[in-house]
């Protein structure tokens, strides 16, 4: 168990290292291009060279890479070209906003999709199962920005109930949270619901559930004690891995609603060519993804006695 965790941790660090290297070579191998991005397209070659030597770019590539990694480990990703402030400051602020959005999303999505999934999977083929299944295919089929378009059309343009942007310029506002969270939940709950349903349905047809029923246990006990424990192992890992998916969704939703979060920061940086911000954002995103993978692996082992004790 501890060995497994240690192995995973090493693999995780290795991946982060490789990713950072790929990222750094992608964006900073060509020094002149970096200088061009920093000083603008109309800067002269001399200006660029001066800037490069002033900022330590004359060092060999590997030295620069190790320096960059060292800085990154201390939270120093340089200054944003677009906003002229340290990247770390920007990042902390934006991550906080995104964190709030994600938290509210999970608080609604997890109970909703687990309940629906268990209800659907309990009696495979029942009308409740069919309705839940069809509903969840429909909602997952529609990408976030399309859902967002329809919701905005109705709630903002037609009924004038909610604000169309969520930039929170005058402080935090629950009203501005509604649409982004709704879009994320609508897109995402279907997937988790379907996974939970599949897992529950599989457990319900298993032989040990037959044993439990033929032991004469009350149905409630069969479901609560025998089925749920086994059926919820798979959805747990799915939910944790959702973090990775959620990041993609967040990017779109934040851009759509102009929510000042991590995703919109990344897209702005990509459009502007703000390489230091891109580097920082991607490293953070990959860290979240890899870490959630780690948690999901460990959690799966902990939840599954068959693996835990072997």
């Amino acid at each position: 168990m501890i060995v497994l965790a240690a192995k995973r941790l090493v693999a995780m660090l290795l991946i982060m290292l490789v990713v950072s290297f790929i990222l750094f070579s992608l964006f900073e191998a060509d020094k002149m291009a970096v200088a061009g991005k920093v000083l603008g397209p109309y800067s002269s070659v001399e200006q660029r060279e001066t800037w490069l030597s002033q900022n330590g770019y004359d060092e060999p590539f590997f030295t620069r890479y190790t320096q960059w990694v060292g800085g990154a480990l201390h939270g120093d990703f340089g200054n944003s070209l677009q906003y002229k402030v340290p990247v770390s400051e920007l990042l902390v602020d934006r991550l906080k906003n995104t964190g709030i959005l994600a938290l509210v999303f999970f608080l609604i999505m997890i109970p909703l999709s687990l309940t629906l999934g268990v209800l659907a999977g309990m009696k495979e083929g029942s009308w409740l199962d069919r309705i839940i299944s069809i509903f969840s295919v429909l909602t997952t089929s529609i990408p976030e920005f399309v859902t967002a378009t329809f919701l905005t059309g109705l709630f903002v343009y037609t009924w004038h109930l909610l604000p169309g942007t969520s930039s929170m310029t005058s402080g935090f506002s629950w009203k501005e949270m509604i649409l982004p969270v709704a879009v994320l939940v609508i897109y995402d709950f279907g997937y988790v619901t379907r996974m939970t349903r599949a897992s529950m349905a599989e457990v319900m047809t298993s032989q040990y559930i037959r044993t439990a029923i033929l032991k004469g246990l009350p149905y409630k006990r069969v479901i609560m004690r025998h089925a749920l424990r086994n059926a919820l192992i798979a959805p747990f890992t799915v939910i944790v891995l959702q973090l990775n998916w959620l990041l993609s969704g967040l990017v779109v939703v934040e851009v759509f609603f102009a929510y000042k979060g991590f995703g919109s920061l990344l897209v702005d940086a990509a459009l502007f060519g703000d390489i230091y911000v891109i580097e920082a954002c991607v490293m953070v995103a990959v860290f979240i993804a890899v870490f959630s993978q780690f948690i999901s692996d460990i959690g799966y082992t902990l939840l599954n006695p068959r693996i835990r004790f072997s």
Binding site: V19, F27, F145, G153, S248, V251, V286, A289
Partner: protein, 298 residues
Amino acid sequence: MTETIKLDKEIPAKRESGFKRFFKALALMRESPVGMIGALIILFWVTMAVLAPFLPLYDPNAIMSPFQKIGAAAPDGGTFWLGTDHKGRDILSRIIWGAQKVLIWATFATFVAYVVGMLMGVLAGYKGGWADEIVSFVANIFLSFPFIILCIIIVATLGASGWTVVVAVTFASAPQIMRIVRGLVLDLKTRDYIFAAQTRGESPWYIMLVELLPNARGPLIVDACLRLGYTVVAIATLGFLGLGLPPPDPDWGLMLKEAVPLGAFAGHSMYLPAAALASLILGFNLLADGLREISLRD
């Protein structure tokens, strides 16, 4: 031996042509109404995409009168069946040409991702050991990027174009395909017919491509169908973020991006591409669901 075997008349002994088998597969779809709806939606869009050059459409990039309502008369005496956008371009034409574009690029990108992913998966699954470690590690690196973020990085480095989309989708999808194929191969390679092939000294590549891969096709067809849907989403999302296929050619995601801020005046220019996109993706998902249902049945 006295055993006599009754020949089952219903089972045709001859191998059927691919054409006939295709129609048989289509007939099978009748068993799943959900899949049928999906197939019809896709068929509709494919037909539109194929017929685009032959339909009496305005040039999708021609700038005429802006903000025309649905069914408004065009200056040249024709009709804007679905109105025009903020720049005065015919929406119907843009949607149909957009369908062609997204379908071509999505199919191509998915195909490339599949070729790469399958080879990686079969190699990792069948060979095991170091080959598996290396391939899996490479895959894990790319899997650790959230999909859209990987696309953003690739577009940010290579610049926006159809080919960039293909590269982005390959990098993002191939590792996932690899994982699926690897899992299937790990299961299939314990079968006796694989041992049989090994015991007659077949080469590893023969076993991988001839003995293993054809048996993994069921789940892969379902996955390919889903994945086409994802790719359409990815292309549209990139378009929406302004990182997709470059303008002015019609792109559903880009159309949405431009139309949403103006939704208060021209709802149709926002709803129509959204509906087109939703329906196409729904089509792929429903078809995949139907195929899965049918494949589980026998």
